[in-house]
Assembly symmetry: C2
Homo-oligomer: 281 residues x 2
């Protein structure tokens, strides 16, 4: 019998964190959500690279943390656990300590690994596409927090709480200047006059691992890639629109409020490339 | 023998939260830090009122949560525990559940009470004043998160990590438009041409309970109060500068980088009023 989840805290089976952990007190940490396929953690190096960038930004010592995480994951793999689950979430906090907001001078980061089953999408949104909406919440701009996947995610919670209609699969977020940023849980890309476009994430948003992978793959196959600051009208004029993250892979967007699209050729090509890369990685 | 801390989770002695708690996963919650004096929780009603405002903003059901918190606190008081400690921290999260960022439709909030000893300030900063600095980090602006004391506090952690010199007791924060907001752990007030001035907190910052108490007390004693958007130069031209929060009460600011002040008459008057109010509340 396979249990629903398996969680490790600092390498040991555990299911709780102390109240004094700074992840809980201040959102002082980072996370990664990684897809598991036949016992392999997909794009693992890219995930750990982003985690390292996050650690560096927050001044959480990345070593021996990253080495320990790799060892945990290798052990879970050789024990056959990775093959039993579909999702690996890594959560890293600055650990316990410090005085108020002041971080301890020598933090002992906490590392958590959570294995769980993959969410199921019986309506096959990767094939048929999804309807999305525009959120009212506007993301705050901060170059200090932009790009990394930190634990202070209350904006995403509030944005995702704006709707409960299960037929709407994602909400688009603009920033305070009304430029496009991302979805609540995904990155946003579109095709416009043959170019693959996506918002620059230097002021807000999370630099998704699949997003970055797709941008470099697109360049490799000769597709022009453009990152910039775009108003909503730019998206509405697009030929194809898609969302991506490490669990959904790529979902074509077929409707945003009154605007609709069909899943397009570039979207299908990128879906195919990602599938190939997953098999190879 | 008095232990260092006493912590209750949902009314029971406990020292950890489950990994699935949304406070840890997303900073999805709120907190309050309350001073204890001779077994009384100072300005408790105002703290619980701000907590309620936070719950309403985040759509965390405030009841029966607030009733349970009051019952916990009353019990700690009648057991004599409040008299043994100097600080009561309340932490409220949306609890466990939901799918990703989507909050559960009927959240079961988690409530945590943490009793600890009061930090000691042997150099008597309330009397002699403190030196402060200007932080490099600029607070992000978001009317969705402004004012409430939520758990997504990574900006404060990063700002407080900018210095370790213990002679510098606080760091001032500007917002992305370079207007004054607050300190990393305190609110900022100053006296200019007889008026008590403080930044408006509708775009960022925490609406401190002591700050709001002082603003209404100042009005009551005929002091003109002004909330606005101010550049740093406004502060530098002030006659008196002070910081406040629920643990430090009021600290006069005696130096910000090269600019210096002496603790002034309005500061002393407000310190006296606050002390009286504490004895009466």
């Amino acid at each position: 019998m396979i249990s629903d989840t398996l969680t490790l805290v600092d390498g040991e089976v555990g299911d709780s964190l102390p109240l004094g952990d700074r992840g809980l007190a201040y959102g002082d940490g980072l996370f990664e959500t990684i897809q598991l396929l036949d016992g392999r953690a997909l794009l693992l190096d890219a995930h750990l690279k982003r985690l390292r960038r996050g650690c560096e930004r927050l001044a959480i010592p990345p070593q021996p943390l990253l080495t320990s995480l790799r060892a945990d994951i290798a052990r879970l793999g050789s024990d056959g656990e990775l093959a039993r689950y579909g999702v690996l979430k890594i959560l890293v906090t600055r650990g316990v300590g410090g005085r108020g907001y002041l971080p301890p001078p020598d933090p002992a980061p906490t590392r958590v690994l959570m294995l769980s089953q993959r969410p199921e999408y019986p309506d096959d949104p990767a094939q048929h596409g999804v309807r999305i909406r525009l959120c009212q919440l506007r993301l705050a701009q901060s170059p200090w927090l932009a790009g990394i996947k930190h634990l202070s995610r209350l904006e995403q919670v509030l944005a995702r709480a704006e709707w409960r209609d299960p037929a709407i699969r994602e909400g688009l977020l603009l920033d305070q200047d009304r430029y496009l940023v991302e979805g609540t849980m995904s990155n946003l890309l579109w095709v416009s006059q043959g170019r693959l476009c996506t918002p620059r994430l230097d002021l807000c948003g999370v630099e998704g691992v699949v997003r970055n992978h797709l941008l470099s793959r697109a360049s490799e196959i000769g597709l022009e890639v453009e990152e910039g600051r775009y108003p909503l009208s730019q998206l509405e004029a697009a030929d194809e629109v898609m969302l991506c993250n490490s669990l959904i892979d790529i979902w074509p967007v077929v409707a945003l409020d009154a605007r609709s699209w069909a899943p397009g050729a570039v979207t299908r090509r990128l879906q195919g490339l990602l599938k190939e890369d997953y098999l190879a990685c």
